[in-house]
């Protein structure tokens, strides 16, 4: 098992390196120049050249790449071109805000998916299952930017129940902590609906199919023959087997924790990693682009690895196979 994890980590590092190399050069191939964003239109050619020289942008690409890579191995992601802050400080500020949103969305999403998947399985073929499936499919298909703006229009503009943007109200930092928590929670509701709740059917269908398949197995018949109540048959026998494919999805979706909320963060002006990435791209802020890519890429690869390990935890048969691997 350990050897397996080490081997997988090794190939993950190589993949990450390939990804970063590709992103480094693609970002620079894109038209535009970071200094255009500094209000540098009135600079003359000599000043522009001086700025470029100061930022190291006039050096050969390969040299810039090598310098960036050497910095990364020391944990230094460089400085932002547009905000003159260390990239690591910007990431450290943005990541917790993103994790707050996506972490809750992630847990909420899978909890809802399991509950509604079981419900769909139990109501298979009934009218209410068809109605719920169509409704869920519509919600699932709505693009995040459209649904987000619709929710803002209804719940913020028209009804005034919930804030439309940001993490906290202005001046919330001076409130006592229970009100501060409530304030952040109110800001979380609409973004959570967009990324956690709306796409639930996508995952719930896997739960439903998994449970239905398990319900047709002999071990479920045997469990029923022991006189187990239906809820025990479903939650204890069928769901645990039906969840195996969902565990894989959950692992693959770990990357979502860092980069799943890009559009939603932009719509709700949530100052997290997604919005940081988008702003960095528009500003051609290469070091920030590289930093966010590195983080999201590393987490994606780690998520895949974790999915495989988790699968072994959920299914003892796989555990056996990987023990034999040792």
């Amino acid at each position: 098992m350990l050897l397996y994890v080490v081997r997988r980590l090794g190939s993950a590092v190589l993949l990450l390196l390939a990804l970063l190399t590709a992103v480094f050069f693609i970002a620079r191939l894109a038209p535009g120049d970071p200094i255009d964003r500094f209000g540098a239109a009135d600079l003359d050619a000599a000043d522009r050249a001086a700025v470029r020289h100061n930022l190291g942008l006039d050096r050969p690409l390969a040299a810039q790449y090598w310098q960036w890579l050497r910095g990364v191995t020391r944990g230094d992601f460089g400085r932002s071109l547009s905000r003159h802050q260390p990239v690591s400080a910007m990431l450290a500020e943005a990541v917790p805000r993103t994790l707050l949103l996506t972490g809750i969305a992630y847990v909420l999403h899978f909890a809802l998916a399991v509950a509604s998947g079981v419900w769909l399985a139990r109501n298979r073929g009934r009218r209410r299952e068809r109605v719920a499936t169509v409704a869920g499919l519509v919600l699932y298909s709505l693009p995040a930017f459209w649904l987000g703006q619709l929710l803002v229009l209804v719940f913020s503009r028209a009804l005034g129940w919930l804030p439309a943007s940001g993490v906290a109200a202005v001046g919330a930092a001076w409130l006592p902590w229970p009100q501060r928590v409530l304030d952040v929670a109110r800001h979380l509701v609409l973004p959570l609906c967009v990324i956690g709740v709306a796409p639930v059917l996508g995952t719930a269908r896997f739960v439903r199919n998994g449970v239905l398949e398990a319900l047709g197995q002999d071990y479920v018949l045997a469990a029923r023959a022991r006189g187990l109540p239906e809820r025990a048959v479903i939650w204890r026998h069928a769901l645990r087997n039906g969840l195996l494919p969902v565990v894989t999805i959950a692992g693959l979706n770990l990357a979502f924790l860092l980069n799943g909320a890009v559009v939603t963060e932009v719509v709700f002006a949530w100052p997290g990693l997604g919005r940081l990435t988008v702003e960095a791209i528009f500003a051609r802020d290469y070091p920030v682009i590289m930093g966010t890519t590195a983080l999201a890429g590393a987490l994606t690869l780690l998520g895949n690895l974790l999915a495989d390990v988790l699968y072994g935890v959920a299914d003892p048969r796989v555990r056996l196979a990987s023990e034999a691997d040792r």
Binding site: L221, A222, R226, G227
Partner: protein, 332 residues
């Protein structure tokens, strides 16, 4: 049969809804099982044996319609609401299925599955259930029961799994054990071991046994009586030994003739040369006419069928065919 049977099945019929006419899987089956009585239900695949077993447990899918009565000491199980039937299962009726790997949940330990009936029916706690599981596994002679209880099913051999399933079925001390082809997937030596163990436990615990099988040769090993089923109907019933030694129904004869043990190596086994009747439109009278070498027009007349050869021996066949057959003669 004793005066007050444990289980009395009366005119039981099962039909499955589907496209077109319903499939009549079981038709007009009646038999009784005294307390501690053992009955083997024998027939070919698709003959309705398993459907009948599941109907007794109330575990047929929603597409099935069950009519007739299943009397348990006078209580009609067919008419009971699902909540009460659930209490019957596991507590009074135990089930052992054919494929022990498929019948054990791969993600739960063997001990968890053996004891779960106790946890739900008797409200046993985790620790008490674990101890009960270990002693049940020891009762079915699983070596090193405590360790096996912690194992997942894939670590056990086929015979061990079947013993574990037997232990799970016995957990709540059922009064009737239904074993649906419990050894069909095991090799012959393990098969004999498991069957003898089952017969022994049935005797020791004073349980009744309904043993479903396609293999007539196994019957005398575990059951006193045998009922032969064809196309959803009982065609012959009587003491196991008598049915095997002097089969009276042509189908029972064919079933016996098909036992591989009776044929020399490389010889051709007799195979059924015609499919069974269409279960959507079963013919009137005897369903076996399509294959019967002694078929005659009277076979379609329900009232002409039915013959009591002795007090405890019944055959659904014409007297002029079944009588000579039972005496080992060829009917005219």
């Amino acid at each position: 049969m004793s005066a007050a049977p444990l289980l009395a099945v009366e005119d039981l019929a099962v039909a499955f809804k589907g496209d077109g006419a319903p499939v009549q899987a079981v038709r007009g089956v009646s038999f009784a099982l005294p307390r501690a009585g053992t009955l083997a239900l024998v027939g070919e695949s698709g003959g309705g044996k398993s459907v009948l077993a599941l109907a007794l447990l109330g575990l047929l899918p929603a597409t099935a319609t069950v009519s007739g009565r299943v009397l348990w000491e006078g209580t009609d199980l067919v008419a009971l609401p699902e909540r009460d039937r659930q209490r019957w299962r596991g507590c009074k009726l135990g089930l052992v299925l054919q494929d022990p790997l498929a019948a054990l949940n791969p993600v739960l330990t063997v001990g968890d599955q053996v004891a779960e009936g106790l946890r739900y029916h008797r409200g046993l706690g985790r620790r008490a259930a674990r101890e009960a599981a270990v002693s049940l596994l020891a009762e079915v002679r699983l070596p090193d029961a405590a360790a096996r209880a912690r194992d997942y099913p894939h670590r056990l051999s086929g015979g061990m799994r079947q013993r574990a399933l037997l232990a799970a079925a016995l957990a709540c001390g059922p009064e009737l054990l239904i074993a649906d082809e419990p050894t069909a997937s095991l090799d012959v030596t393990v098969q004999a071991e498991v069957l003898d163990l089952m017969a022994e436990l049935v005797r020791a615990r004073g349980m009744a046994l309904l043993f479903v099988t396609h293999n007539l040769a196994l019957v005398p090993r575990v059951a006193e009586r045998a009922a032969v089923m064809f196309a959803g109907r009982l065609v012959e019933m009587g003491p196991a030994r008598a049915v095997i030694e002097a089969p009276a129904h042509p189908f029972t004869r064919a079933l016996l003739a098909a036992l591989p043990e009776r044929w020399p190596l490389h010889g051709r086994l007799p195979a059924a040369d015609a499919p069974g009747p269409d279960p959507r439109r079963p013919p009137p009278g005897c369903p076996y006419v399509c294959r019967c070498p002694h078929a005659r027009p009277a076979c379609a007349d329900e009232s002409a069928l039915g013959l009591a050869l002795a007090d405890d021996r019944r055959v659904a066949c014409l007297p002029e065919v079944a009588g000579p057959l039972a005496r080992g003669e060829v009917p005219a």
